[in-house]
């Protein structure tokens, strides 16, 4: 039998102020991603070639219409950052979901059934982990072409091995526990055993790891956008904005600085949340999961 750990987990986590702050930041991010038109003050695509590279409103030379200033084509920075959240967060979240789905399934099966399947799956994971991730993503992006869907698939594919590894490790520990033996003795089928008994007990490391993996995916997406291999312009992406701003650093620092701050803030929130989740769930969990 298993208790529902969610409610008590949530209350334990929310006791910490860092967790509250992180959740706030992430919720803000998700809101921006879900309904950017409601939050952003202006159209992120509208150009005004006479109002390029304006500083923030409170600076000298700022424009009251543009709180954070404008980019090199006169587009409002704040609106672009809000819309940029959509790409970055949706790609990262779907990539983690995809990686998780594949990884958890593979890890569960490998840990539970063992044998040939285990060896094969782990070999495959080894091969993929040996690939330098950034190069792998660049090569594949160059092959299939840059687009949102391709990016999600590539990032998900790059993330499944680590999920699988962690899940498998946990399954191996849990597999021998008493009540699992009891369940087996009572004649429960494999699927039922896995879903009802094993999965809830490996949930803790999965949740913690997912949080860190989200941070990693955000970083990867930003890197790809920075290199020009992510979602294509004129769709705003945080990494792409940093790259665009590089040529104009002496004229406007904010064009590159602000999207970078957004990336750092979001990654920070994910990491802090992961730390707090881990402390709430099981402080002795493997420290170097990140």
């Amino acid at each position: 039998m298993t208790t529902c750990p969610t409610r008590s987990l949530l209350s334990r986590v929310l006791r910490r102020w860092t967790a509250r702050l992180s959740l706030l930041v992430l919720t803000l991010g998700v809101l921006c991603a879900a309904a950017p038109d409601l939050i952003a003050p202006l159209d992120p695509y509208e150009q005004d070639l006479f109002k390029r590279l304006l500083p923030p409103r409170w600076s000298e030379g700022g424009d009251p219409m543009h709180l954070f200033g404008t980019d090199h084509l006169g587009r409002d920075l704040l609106s672009r950052i809000v819309h940029g959240a959509r790409i970055t967060l949706s790609v990262a979240i779907f990539a983690v979901l995809g990686a998780g789905l594949v990884g958890i399934t593979a890890g569960l099966a490998a840990g539970y059934f063992g044998g040939l399947f285990d060896s094969l799956a782990m070999r495959l994971a080894d091969v993929q982990l040996a690939f330098p991730v950034v190069l792998l993503v660049i090569v594949v992006a160059a092959v299939v072409g840059p687009s949102t869907l391709n990016l999600v698939v590539i990032l998900a594919l790059s993330g499944w091995p680590r999920f699988a590894r962690i899940v498998r490790g946990s399954v191996l520990t849990v597999r021998e526990l008493d009540y699992v033996e009891a369940g087996r003795a009572a004649g429960s089928g494999h699927l039922k055993l896995i879903l009802l008994h094993i999965l809830p007990n490996v949930a803790s490391p999965i949740i913690v790891y997912a949080s860190f993996e989200l941070a990693r995916m955000i970083l990867l997406e930003a890197t790809m956008s920075f290199l020009g291999l992510g979602v294509q312009p004129p769709t705003p992406t945080w990494g792409g904005m940093i790259n665009d701003g590089r040529g104009y650093l002496h004229l406007s620092l904010t064009v590159s600085l602000l999207p970078g701050a957004a990336i750092a803030l979001t990654i920070l929130a994910c990491n802090l949340l992961g730390d707090d989740l881990r402390d709430a769930l099981d402080p002795r969990m493997d420290v170097d999961m990140r």
Partner: protein, 305 residues
């Protein structure tokens, strides 16, 4: 020990093979390199001749076996862009990348380990909190962003450091420091938590009771045991280091293997891309092996497995 090593080495072979095969097919799907090399005004028959010379017009399976045969003899083929053997091109730049990677590790360890130890000793104080914030930020800020800002501040505005290239020590400072920030954060964090664990152990209390000076207790006895996980983490993070090197070399125009790889990918120079990926994977596997060996040497329980 030896059978352990041999077993791991044998296990590494199919991994590398898998990587090589996957890269072969992936890059070939990215398109035709002739467009990148010959000007658009080139007559069609000349273009087809060029393709034939590199075997690009053969069926994929034929190309694969041809390539496999050469790979087993240690020959990565000739670069389509340069005409030189791909392996040689990687060798030429390996020194630069190694320099960057080593400098990064040295900085990260030299600053991170003492910082972690100090934080562990000063647990709960303001200093500890500051370090925690720094490590959190260090892991959150993308290294390419740091690089762009670093160039803007130190190279363009202050003019203290050059903005790229590789001549003397001053060129190494900015790229290595940029990349080291992330590792410093990890090293400091892991060192701190491992030191905290170790400092609570019985044998530390015994050493203190024996009257040993505190600095000896910390730096000699405790650190030696705390270093093990640090080494493991560093080894595990090699994959990230290789990836970080690629982006950093691009931002700083550092003439290393990473930059060669990116140029080759864009130019569809298949032999070079294949060579770089396989070599990177081999390095990754090698580092993991070294970490495993070190682990086994330091922790006898593992050796016996």
């Amino acid at each position: 020990m030896i059978p352990f090593l041999v077993r791991r080495l044998i296990g590494a072979v199919p991994v590398l093979f898998g990587v090589a095969v996957a890269t072969f097919f992936l890059v070939r799907l990215s398109g035709d390199p002739t467009d990148m090399i010959l000007p658009p005004t080139t007559p069609e028959d000349v273009r087809l001749e060029f393709r034939a010379r590199y075997g690009l017009d053969r069926p994929l399976w034929e190309q694969f076996f041809f390539w496999l045969g050469h790979l087993l003899r240690g020959d990565f083929g000739d670069s389509i862009r340069f005409g030189q053997p791909a392996g040689e091109l990687v060798w030429e730049r390996a020194g630069a990348t190694l320099e960057l990677a080593l400098a990064t590790l040295v900085i990260a360890l030299a600053v991170g380990v003492p910082a972690g130890v100090a934080a562990a000793r000063a647990r709960g104080t303001v200093g500890d909190a500051i370090l925690r914030v720094m490590t959190l930020l260090g892991q959150a800020v993308p290294s390419f962003y740091l690089g762009v800002v670093g160039i803007a501040v130190f190279a363009i505005w202050l003019r203290w450091l050059p903005s790229g290239g590789r001549d003397g020590i001053e060129n190494l400072v900015l790229p290595a420091t940029t990349l080291a920030v992330y590792f410093f954060a990890i090293v400091a964090r892991v060192t701190r938590s491992c030191m905290l664990d170790v400092l609570n152990q019985d044998y530390i209390r015994t050493a203190r009771a024996k009257g040993l000076p505190e600095s000896a207790v910390v730096w000699v006895h405790a650190l030696r045991n705390a270093l093990l996980p640090v080494i493991t983490v560093v080894g595990l993070q090699t994959g990230f280091l290789l990836g970080g090197v690629v982006v950093t070399e691009t931002v700083f125009s550092w003439p290393g293997v990473g930059r060669l790889a990116i140029q080759a990918i864009y130019a569809r120079d298949f032999p070079v891309v294949q060579a770089v990926v396989v070599i990177f994977a081999a390095c990754f596997v090698a580092v993991n092996l070294i970490v495993d060996v070190l682990y086994a040497l330091l922790d006898p329980r593992i050796r016996l497995r």
